[in-house]
C-alpha cells in the first residue's frame, strides 16, 4: 500500500513537471475566465435583466460558476494526459513497471486535481476586483471546496481516458461532456423562472452541486452545503472506482 502511494506520488510529480513546461494550457486557464467573467459578466450586468437577488450583481453571481468552470475544463481535460501517455508509449512503460494499476489512476487523479485546483484558485484571486469581500474562514473553505471539486472532475477525465484512445477523440469531450455539464449546472443563471425540464436536468447534474457549494461559501446565498458535499463525495467515489475497474479490464494492448 505504502509503495503504491509512493508510485502515485512519482506519477503525479512527473505530470506536474511536464505541466510546468507547457505554456498554452496556462494561458488558456487565464484567458478563459477573463472572457466569461469580464466580457459576458459585464454584458449581463448592463444589458440584461436585473438579477432577482438583492445586493448581488451579475458578475458576482456568475463568479462561483466561472471558478467551477475553470476547474471543470482543466480537470476533465487532464484525462488527455493519459491518452497522450498511451499514444506516445509512456503508459505502456508504466503498465509494465512493477506498480499497481490503482497507483497509476491515483497519481493521475492527484496531478489533475492539483492542476485543476490551481486554475480555480487563479480565478478566485480576482474576487477583490468584483467587489466581493472574503474573510479568512471563507477563503479557506473556498480553497478546500475548489480542490474537492477538482478531484471530482479530474476523476471524470480519467474515467473518459479509460475508453477514449485518441487525442482527437478526447477533443470531442469538450463539446459533448464539458460544455453540456457546464450549461446544465445553473452556473450562469438562477433557477427561478426557468422551465421545469431544465430545472430537473440541473438537479440531476452533479456539477450543479459543486457550483452551489461555491456560491454558498462565496456569496452567502441560500443552499444546502451538506447535500452539495455528500453529492460530490459520492460522485467522486463512484467515478474513481469505475475508472479503476475500466483500467483493470484493459489487458489487451495492440502493438
Amino acid at each position: 500500500m505504502t509503495s503504491g502511494l509512493k508510485d502515485s506520488y512519482y506519477i503525479m510529480k512527473r505530470d506536474l513537471i511536464r505541466m510546468t513546461r507547457q505554456k498554452m494550457p496556462l494561458i488558456g486557464a487565464v484567458v478563459r475566465p477573463i472572457l466569461w467573467l469580464f466580457f459576458l459578466g459585464t454584458g449581463l450586468k448592463f444589458g440584461f435583466i436585473a438579477l432577482p437577488l438583492v445586493g448581488i450583481n451579475w458578475q458576482q453571481y456568475i463568479f462561483p460558476g466561472i471558478i467551477a468552470m475553470n476547474v471543470l475544463f482543466s480537470g476533465v481535460m487532464s484525462g488527455a494526459t493519459i491518452v497522450w501517455d498511451r499514444e506516445f508509449g509512456f503508459l505502456k512503460e508504466i503498465t509494465i513497471a512493477p506498480i499497481p494499476r490503482w497507483s497509476i489512476i491515483l497519481g493521475k487523479v492527484l496531478s489533475g486535481t492539483i492542476i485543476a485546483g490551481c486554475q480555480g484558485v487563479l480565478v478566485l484571486a480576482v474576487y477583490p476586483l468584483l467587489g466581493i469581500s472574503l474573510g479568512f474562514l471563507q477563503l479557506a473553505q473556498t480553497l478546500l471546496a475548489i480542490f474537492f471539486i477538482a478531484m471530482a472532475v479530474t476523476a471524470v477525465g480519467v474515467l473518459l481516458a479509460a475508453r477514449i484512445r485518441t487525442l482527437e477523440g478526447f477533443g470531442a469531450v469538450n463539446n459533448f461532456v464539458v460544455m453540456p455539464v457546464f450549461f446544465l449546472s445553473g452556473a450562469l443563471h438562477p433557477l427561478s423562472n426557468i422551465p421545469d425540464w431544465l430545472k430537473i436536468l440541473i438537479y440531476l447534474n452533479p456539477f450543479s452541486y459543486a457550483v452551489d457549494l461555491l456560491r454558498v461559501i462565496l456569496l452567502g446565498l441560500d443552499g444546502d452545503p451538506v447535500l452539495d458535499i455528500l453529492t460530490i463525495v459520492l460522485f467522486t467515489n463512484v467515478i474513481f472506482l469505475s475508472a479503476l475497474y475500466l483500467f483493470a479490464q484493459r489487458r489487451q494492448y495492440y502493438p
Partner: protein
Amino acid sequence: MISVERVSHSFHGYPALKNLSFSVSPGECFGLLGPNGAGKSTLINILVTLLQPDSGSVTINGWPLATEAAKIRSSIGVIFQDSSLDERLTAHENLYFHAMFYHVPPREASQRITALLAMVGLADRSNDRVITFSGGMKRRLEIARSILHQPQLLLLDEATVGLDTQARRRIWDYIASLRQDYPLTILLTTHYLEEAEICDRIAILDHGAVIACDTPARLKEIHGQKTLDDLFLHLTGRDLQDSETGELERLKAALRVRRIK
C-alpha cells in the same frame, strides 16, 4: 530463464500465435526472426505481461506469468519498437522516474543514472530534454533505462527499426559491451539479418508458429543454405525483408481505424 510452452493467442478470431514453444537459457542471446505479422510483437506483449495468452504457459526467471506478473515485471527490461521516452522530460528525469517506478533506492538510483548516462555517451546531455535528441541518442537512452533496475532479462522488440546502419551497429556495440560487464539474458525480435547473426540461437517465426530453432550456423548447415536470408526464403518461401504488411498487421490496423471512428 524463459520457457514458453504451447502458447496460442488470437485477435478477433485471427490466430496470431499457434501452439508456440521455445526456451531461452540464462546468459543467452536469443533472436526471434520473422516478417511483419509473424506474431513477434504479440509474443513480446505476452512476455512483458501486457497480454494474457489464450492458452499455454509462460515462465520467466522462474516465475509463472499467470500468477507472478509483478515479480516478472521487476526482473525484465524492455525496449519497444516505438520510443516510450517522455520527450518533455530531460534524459536524467526519464531515468529518475524509471528508477522510482522500479523501486530503486534514490541514492543508488542517482549513482546508477550517472554511470549509465556515461556508458551510453549521454553524460553531457543529462539535463537536456529528450525532444532535442536524435533517434540514435533516444535508443541509447532507452538502453540505459532498460537496465537501470538491473534486470536479469532484456527484451528488445525491433529496437533498432528506423535507425540507419551506423546507428544500429553502435547500439549493438553497446549491448555487446554490456553483456561483457553484466550477466544479461537477451531476447530480441528483428527482421534485420545482421542482428540475427549475432544471436547465440534464433527461432524463425512464420504465421505465429516456430518453424525452426537453433544456432544460426547450424540452421544454415542443416538446411544447406549459405545465408540467413537464403534460409528464411527456403523455409517460408518469402523474403525476410519483404515489407508487405502481414494479414495480422492489416487486422490490427483495421481495428485501430474502427476505434478512431
